[in-house]
């Protein structure tokens, strides 16, 4: 006799192929920096609160609402990243998936590069693959009944472990800078390995419309791929995860609140805060945040 799941999949088209990993949003976004306190201050201004410390490394967990952001100041992580060592970089994205081991193996079978992780005794082994530049992509499946942070992190005493989000913020996506003529390559990468799909060119979010937007198979996370300007192909071909985008029901209200917390916004004739979105100033030589309107 068929299992209930099998019966359901035979009776109805569940669209499993379009979400091959059972992706369900983002577990965390990780920054790497030699100046964790300075970056932590910017994150706090953006509404994140430090909630836990890693058991064995110089790694801090910040949180607001459903969003986890990790600041990794562990020297090994920074050396591996190379590039601009003084500028904080987005070093990793962790995808929530149905089965991390299965997702990892599926990615390797299709040509992903595995990353050997160095774990201390009793720490979790979270499988990961190479992403753009020096970044990595983790697969996490323990986010429902218990979390990965229960194992590897120690809560900071007397701190609310579930701080409310400022302005209703949620993860919206990541902007990725790509090299010249690399749009098709990266679209293929995210499509083949994770099931991301391009959204039509006429559909754009926020106020920064350049490049191509890819939607995660779970529909909750977006990647925006941006090529260099044609006249800068020779000098500006670096590929990296450039900035994080947060969604909010009331962007202009959020801009006002963040300004009161000391965050400045880009206000030029071309790029300025409006109902659809906003872009913060750049901090610490390379850290900015984009706000994108979300229907309440």
């Amino acid at each position: 006799m068929s299992s209930p799941e099998r019966l359901q999949s035979v009776r109805e088209n569940l669209g499993a192929a379009s979400n091959p990993l059972g992706m369900n949003g983002i577990e965390f976004i990780e920054f790497s920096t030699a100046k964790p306190q300075a970056l932590g201050q910017v994150l706090e201004q953006m509404g994140f609160r430090p909630v836990a410390r890693h058991r064995s490394r110089e790694v801090l967990l910040y949180r607001q609402g459903e969003m986890n952001v990790i600041i990794n100041a562990h020297p090994r992580g920074r050396t591996a990243l190379g590039g601009h060592k003084d500028v904080p970089q987005i070093a990793a994205i962790a995808l929530r998936v149905r089965d991390a081991a299965e997702a990892y193996q599926r990615a390797l079978d299709r040509g992903a590069w595995p990353i050997e992780s160095v774990v201390q005794p009793m720490e979790l082994h979270i499988p990961s693959i190479h992403g753009v530049g020096h970044s990595r992509i983790f697969f996490v499946d323990r986010y429902k009944e218990f979390s990965i942070y229960d194992v590897d992190f120690v809560p900071i005493p007397s701190v609310d472990q579930k701080p409310e989000p400022l302005c209703g913020f949620q993860f919206f996506g990541i902007v990725q800078y790509i090299g010249a003529e690399r749009l098709a390559d990266w679209t293929e990468f995210y499509s083949q390995l994770f099931g991301f799909e391009s959204v039509p060119d006429e559909q754009r979010f926020g106020i920064m419309p350049k490049g191509r937007v890819l939607r995660s198979p779970c529909g909750s996370f977006f990647l925006q791929l941006i090529e260099p300007e044609p006249d800068a192909w020779d000098v500006d071909n670096e590929e990296c995860l450039q900035r994080m985008a947060l969604s909010a029901p009331d962007v202009l209200g959020a801009v006002k609140q963040l300004q009161e917390r000391g965050i400045g916004f880009t206000e030029t004739a071309v790029v300025h805060s409006e109902h659809r979105g906003a872009l913060t100033n750049t901090y610490l030589g390379g850290v900015s945040f984009e706000l994108v309107h979300r229907d309440a």
């Binding site: 299709r110 040509g111 590069w113 753009v132």
Partner: protein, 295 residues
């Protein structure tokens, strides 16, 4: 340097001597690019990192990096082994700042002949190359087991449908198998990632053994062999199709490896000039004409 031969380059395998000697000869003959092989780096007496630095400092642009052999169609531990080899090559290719890696069709008796599985492996190879910014040019070796002509190599490339997987065209293999150029009409010129040119001295090479021996020891530069007319037709055809990529002289020749590199490089330059000026008829404007235009 003569700009009309800017898209022609030499291959290090044509020359004797160390890497620095080869690069110097190629540059001084008037070329701006060089096709490199993994052996150039690995066998360099100062090690791989030093070899990469020498190439980067040479002022020559790397045309491509060669060659991954017998990748597709294997299974189990053989497949895993080849994936490791491919990754190692890609890391060297990326370190050189080289954008194209050449993979030639499998000759292995251990490989499947199921085209679906060959396509699957080529897709995987292309995906491995994406994060490193490398394009894979897949070439049909004339003694390949399943794929031994450009048209069947193109069939796999088309079926794999990956943006960074394209076709490598080698005149030697086309002439060795007497493959018609007509089927190039089916090929999308923007998906030809590399063209390698060489001629040879015999009119026919009938068996696989003959092809292997000729390919590895008796190739000559375009215009020096007996297939000049066919070679000219191929280059003209590619040009008419809209191919705008590089042409590299893939000339394995034992005699050339025993001749002074500068002399061999001059022969290669003569060949490039023949192709650019006489075959493609690229007129280089005279200095006086350029001045007139500027006014």
């Amino acid at each position: 340097m003569n700009q009309s031969i800017a898209d022609f380059g030499m291959d290090t395998i044509s020359l004797g001597g160390g890497l620095d000697v080869k690069l110097k000869a190629i540059r001084e003959a008037g070329f701006s690019q060089v096709m490199l092989s993994a052996r150039d780096l690995v066998q360099h007496h100062g090690g791989v990192d030093e070899a990469i630095a020498i190439v980067r400092d040479s002022g020559l642009r790397p045309t491509g990096f060669q060659v991954l052999r017998d990748f597709e169609g294997l299974s189990g531990h053989l497949h895993d082994y080849k994936v490791d080899v491919a990754k190692s090559m890609m890391e060297m290719c990326a370190a050189l700042g080289c954008k194209v890696m050449l993979a030639c069709s499998s000759t292995s008796q251990h490989a499947t002949q199921d085209k679906e599985l060959l396509v699957k492996d080529l897709r995987k190879l292309a995906m491995l190359a994406v994060p490193l910014g490398i394009k894979v040019a897949y070439e049909g070796l004339s003694w390949g087991r399943t794929i031994n002509e450009y048209n069947t190599a193109w069939e796999l490339v088309e079926r794999a449908d990956c943006p960074n997987l394209g076709l490598g065209v080698d005149s030697f293999h086309i002439f060795a198998t007497n493959t018609s150029l007509e089927m190039l009409d089916e090929v999308d010129a923007s998906k030809i990632f590399l063209v390698q040119l060489a001629d040879f001295m015999w009119n026919e090479v009938r068996t696989n053994e003959e092809r292997i021996t000729t390919a590895r020891h008796f190739r000559v530069f375009p215009g020096e062999g007996v297939h000049s007319q066919q070679l000219a037709e191929l280059v003209l055809k590619l040009d008419q199709m809209g191919y705008t990529g590089d042409y590299s002289f893939e000339v394995f020749n034992d005699d050339y490896q025993a001749m002074p590199p500068a002399l061999v490089a001059r022969r290669a330059h003569r060949s490039a000039t023949w192709l650019a000026d006489e075959v493609l008829q690229r007129a280089t404007p005279l200095p006086s004409q350029m001045r007139l235009k500027a006014r």
